[in-house]
Symmetry: C2
Subunit: 241 residues, 2 copies
């Protein structure tokens, strides 16, 4: 299994795995046999979304045998959470897909003062499906965790005591790359919705330990800012820029 | 005019400008008066898309008076061209919008071996409209130039004798940030469509002076790669990372 790119990838929940055997759901079995046209004995890559890849072989029953653990190193050196003001329309779909490609580990969709949409709770299902597909496509080892849409203060508490960088395009704010710790450590990036943070939110964020950062001279839309931030964090930590 | 964010921005072609007067098209006049509801004497920001911003004042006729030149510094320190394999669906729309936000100066949509769409020539109209809107929204001084969809070799010749970096996710390829010149200079970034470059294209690109670069450990889709590349170039040149 040298050329991993040749193999199909499928996310299998850790609860489906017992020893070296994975119990497939009817949907997964259908997908492997009918959509991908694999047959009994064919190989694919099983991912548990929690750090592991295995060589897997399709059984006669609705099971797969897990073989060798595959050495994959695609994750950021430390987990990065994204607290993200929900943009209009389907902007959040694109953010979840692309932030997953760029290595995000947790996404907290935020309902802020200037959020104009309050997504139906079922929307989270869709977001998780997008994250799963993106994780498979982009060879992630960890499936990003998608939290329910929630107010800023709730997400702030839930993400815990990690450094939090608040994107703010105001003049004089230092660039993310100047204040990001050189040694990888868990942290959070916080980005407002269209229209940005309100003055009250920005004061609250700073009073609660948020460090304001710039993403450069140009004005980025809310769907572009998280991608720039994640690309810069990856390059700084992995290339030691 | 201290708080520039308060003012509407409108791109006016240099050919419409004579001395301190800009002749508006009927569409521009309609937009200013009917959509934005400006009245005679009201101010807005006029951009020529070639580096200049002016304070402008709406006249009684279909003209605007150009006042002081406004000091804006939003451009990358040197122009960056993007040679971009055309992705499926409306992926190119998102790339043009977001690459404009991130400072691109020229976009060459490429028809490559694995390009599955051959856009109708009228599509370029749409792309230019998207670039114009994005340039206004993101406070660009230069309107990115959108070239017609063309074969790789044609675009390669047209972009001229600048360093060209070819994104290639193969193992062992150096990271863009390691080979990017520290001193800003005109250059081009080349990104393949879904499915990437063919082996023949990759050989041709290298034989013709293209330098292969990685954008990091993670597999990025074709719509995400140009955004990561532009974000990294901006940070390296402007923050001296």
């Amino acid at each position: 299994m040298n050329d991993l790119a040749r193999y199909q990838r499928l996310t299998i929940h850790p609860g489906q795995i017992s020893g070296n055997q994975a119990q497939l759901t009817p949907e997964q079995s259908h997908y492997l046999r009918r959509v991908l046209r694999l047959q009994t004995g064919d190989e694919f890559i099983a991912m548990d979304g929690q750090g592991h890849w295995w060589r897997a072989q399709l059984d006669a029953a609705q099971t797969a045998q897990l073989g060798e653990v595959l050495p994959i190193h695609r994750e950021l050196p430390a987990p990065v959470a994204l607290l993200m003001g929900i943009p209009k329309g389907d902007g959040m779909d694109a953010i979840i897909r692309q932030a997953t490609e760029l290595g995000v580990r947790q996404i907290f969709p935020l309902i802020t003062e200037r959020t104009q949409v309050h997504p139906h709770p079922t929307r989270r299902h869709r977001w998780r499906k997008i994250a799963t597909e993106a994780a498979e496509q982009s060879w992630r080892q960890w499936l990003p965790e998608i939290f329910p849409a929630q107010p800023l203060a709730t997400a702030w508490a839930e993400v815990g005591a990690v450094p939090k960088f608040v994107c703010d395009p105001s003049p004089g704010v230092p660039h993310l790359c100047r204040v990001l710790p050189a040694a990888p450590q868990p942290l959070a990036v916080c980005i407002g919705p269209e229209g940005g943070w309100s003055a009250g939110e920005l004061a609250w964020l700073q009073a609660n330990g948020g460090q304001r950062v710039s993403l450069g001279r140009r004005v980025l839309r809310t769907v572009t800012a998280p991608l720039a931030a994640l690309a810069l964090i990856g390059a700084k930590w992995e290339e030691h820029l």
